[in-house]
């Protein structure tokens, strides 16, 4: 009991805590949001590559913070065929696990409908991953980003299990869990996340929900957007356009 009581006291003694010491940035002024326009995505996978380089993610097929899924409906089939850059056929087409490319495997097939869907961490408003963390290593920031403190992560991977979107993975080299930060080190410097920066067709949209003129506010205002698995109660913050019911 005594232990618990002491902490808020210490907190109160220092008055309202100043925002984190990030030069030129006040997190109370922002709330970030992300949009995906699947009708524009061409499946070039430059986002996957840029994310890996920007964030030092292992250059292999099975560790990634963002990925792109291809949904292909063939004539006479009622379930889509789904693949991503880590499918063996796609690895073979790219030539190595460290390069990312969709093989043109359906070029001679009778395709009824096909599209690409970029995916990443949804930076949920009620993140299940944060709830289950036993050490306070993962948390939701004031400006709406779910981060991981790699100094406090013990690598138990409860959060990997808890995430309904499969957005987290285990980083064997550092023995910690890992995921998308919306490039927190870039957005706090006024830059776009790396995946948004390199997207050649504007399929990824990022911005400040508090600014009504930001690209993301306009995107949400001007489109009928969806979120993935709304029933999970996590209240995700990545808004999608151009997907259908099979995308979860």
């Amino acid at each position: 009991m005594a232990v618990k009581a002491v902490v808020p006291e210490a907190h109160a003694a220092t008055g309202p805590t100043p925002p984190p010491a990030i030069p030129g940035y006040d997190w109370t002024q922002h709330r970030w949001g992300f949009g995906v326009d699947a009708t524009k995505c061409i499946g070039c996978l430059r986002c996957v590559e840029a994310c890996k380089r920007e964030n030092d993610v292992a250059a292999d097929a099975h560790h990634f913070r963002t990925w792109v899924e291809r949904y292909v409906y063939l004539e006479g089939e009622d379930k889509p065929r789904i693949d991503s850059h880590h499918d063996p056929v796609n690895i073979e087409a790219s030539g190595s696990e460290g390069e990312y490319r969709f093989a043109n495997r359906y070029k001679d097939a009778k395709v009824e409908k096909a599209f690409f869907v970029p995916k990443l961490c949804n930076h949920c408003t009620h993140p299940a991953c944060v709830q289950v963390c036993p050490t306070g290593a993962t948390y939701k920031t004031e400006d709406g980003v779910v981060l991981i403190d790699h100094n406090y992560c013990i690598g138990c991977q409860y959060c990997v299990q808890a995430c309904p979107y499969g957005a987290r993975f285990f980083n064997e080299r550092k023995q910690v869990t890992d995921k998308c930060t919306w490039c927190y080190h870039r957005i706090t410097k006024g830059l776009q996340p790396a995946c948004v920066e390199v997207c050649p067709v504007g399929a990824r949209i990022f911005g400040d929900l508090k600014d009504k003129q930001s690209p993301i506010s306009q995107f949400i205002r001007n489109n009928r957007t969806y979120v993935l698995r709304p029933e999970s109660g996590n209240a995700p913050n990545v808004y999608y356009v151009g997907i259908d019911k099979d995308v979860v």
Partner: protein
């Protein structure tokens, strides 16, 4: 108080004190600053150094490339489609040694860290975005590689920094002026302003016989002669255009440096050229205006033309017969000789 009770109390108090001391000792200062986490970690993560610097970063040093790119179709800001420099050349920002998750503010940038890679295999790079594939939205320009490029590098014909062909841009926008000079400006993108082509696989036109040029352009227009580059262009030309353009180029003087003139290969070519001389002239200037002069023509183009006759890709009965017996070495020698032969 019974002794055993007071012992128990002492034990509990000691344990509580030890637990509290441990808690204070082990909890980081900033824990609970904003919530159930280490407050300082936010600024630590934010201090990481960006690696993608953006295309503006390149402008100051690579002004020429930047200017080319920013005017080209890979920089279509108005429709929100931009292929950034670093997509093709990789990130210019600091590379941190030691692998993943170096949340550090160090790492040196290009150019101090070395050159950025120049993509050498455009057949691998460009199809990432342009290969025709189910699932790609129709607005994205896509090509079937086998029929559009074959095994040729995309960069043989397209400038990666400004890939749309001048001719296509002009024709699409309906800007092509009607006069021969207006059209010649379009041709100049490939055949050069002086009729000397900018790429050795494309032919020079300056000084060529007008009648031959007319035949060639009409052959492209009807499809009798096929070329990815010329068919679309020639389709838009009227008979009058063709005549005036041909006269325009025929009247030019071909100015090329006779570089390989004295080489052994050129000498070997000269020896082989006797059979050709009947039609293409002793010095490579043909006597019949319907037959092409070869003197001073681009060597790579000549090689390509002779191989095209051999393979039947370019159809002409006379030349198919002439080219059939030539070995690769013969072709190389003949092409070296004719490309170096001085004109007039």
């Amino acid at each position: 108080m019974p002794k055993h009770i007071s012992r128990l109390i002492i034990l509990l108090v000691t344990f509580g004190a030890a637990a509290y001391a441990a808690k204070v000792f082990f909890t980081a200062d900033s824990f609970y600053a904003y919530g159930h986490y280490r407050g300082k970690s936010v600024a630590e993560i934010a201090s990481d150094k960006p690696k993608y610097k953006g295309s503006e970063y390149c402008q100051s040093c690579h002004a020429e490339r930047y200017a080319e790119w920013s005017k080209g179709v890979h920089h279509s800001v108005e429709i929100g489609k931009v292929v950034q420099c670093e997509v093709c050349h990789q990130a210019a920002g600091g590379r941190d040694a030691g692998g993943m998750f170096q949340h550090v503010a160090t790492g040196i940038d290009h150019p101090a860290s070395g050159k950025l890679p120049v993509p050498t295999d455009s057949l691998k790079l460009c199809p990432l975005c342009h290969e025709k594939m189910p699932g790609r939205p129709a607005e994205q320009r896509q090509i079937v590689i086998a029929t559009h490029a074959g095994t040729q590098q995309c960069t043989a014909c397209h400038n990666p920094h400004s890939p749309r062909m001048i001719v296509v841009a002009g024709a699409a926008a309906g800007q092509a002026e009607t006069g021969a000079m207006g059209k010649a400006a379009i041709c100049a993108g490939c055949h050069g302003g002086e009729g000397v082509s900018v790429n050795p696989v494309w032919p020079n036109l300056a000084g060529q016989h007008s009648a031959y040029l007319v035949d060639a352009l009409k052959a492209y227009r009807t499809g009798a002669r096929q070329s990815a580059m010329m068919s679309a262009t020639a389709a838009g030309l009227s008979d009058a255009d063709i005549q005036s353009l041909s006269d325009h180029y025929a009247a030019m003087k071909l100015k090329v440096a006779a570089s390989a003139a004295g080489s052994a290969s050129a000498a070997a070519g000269k020896a082989k050229a006797d059979t050709c001389a009947t039609c293409h002239g002793a010095e490579g200037v043909s006597g019949n205006p319907a037959w092409p002069s070869l003197a001073g023509q681009q060597k790579d183009y000549l090689v390509g033309a002779l191989k095209a006759y051999q393979e039947g890709v370019r159809k002409n009965e006379i030349m198919a017969g002439m080219a059939k017996g030539l070995s690769d070495a013969d072709i190389d020698a003949l092409a070296t000789y004719y490309s170096s032969a001085t004109v007039h």
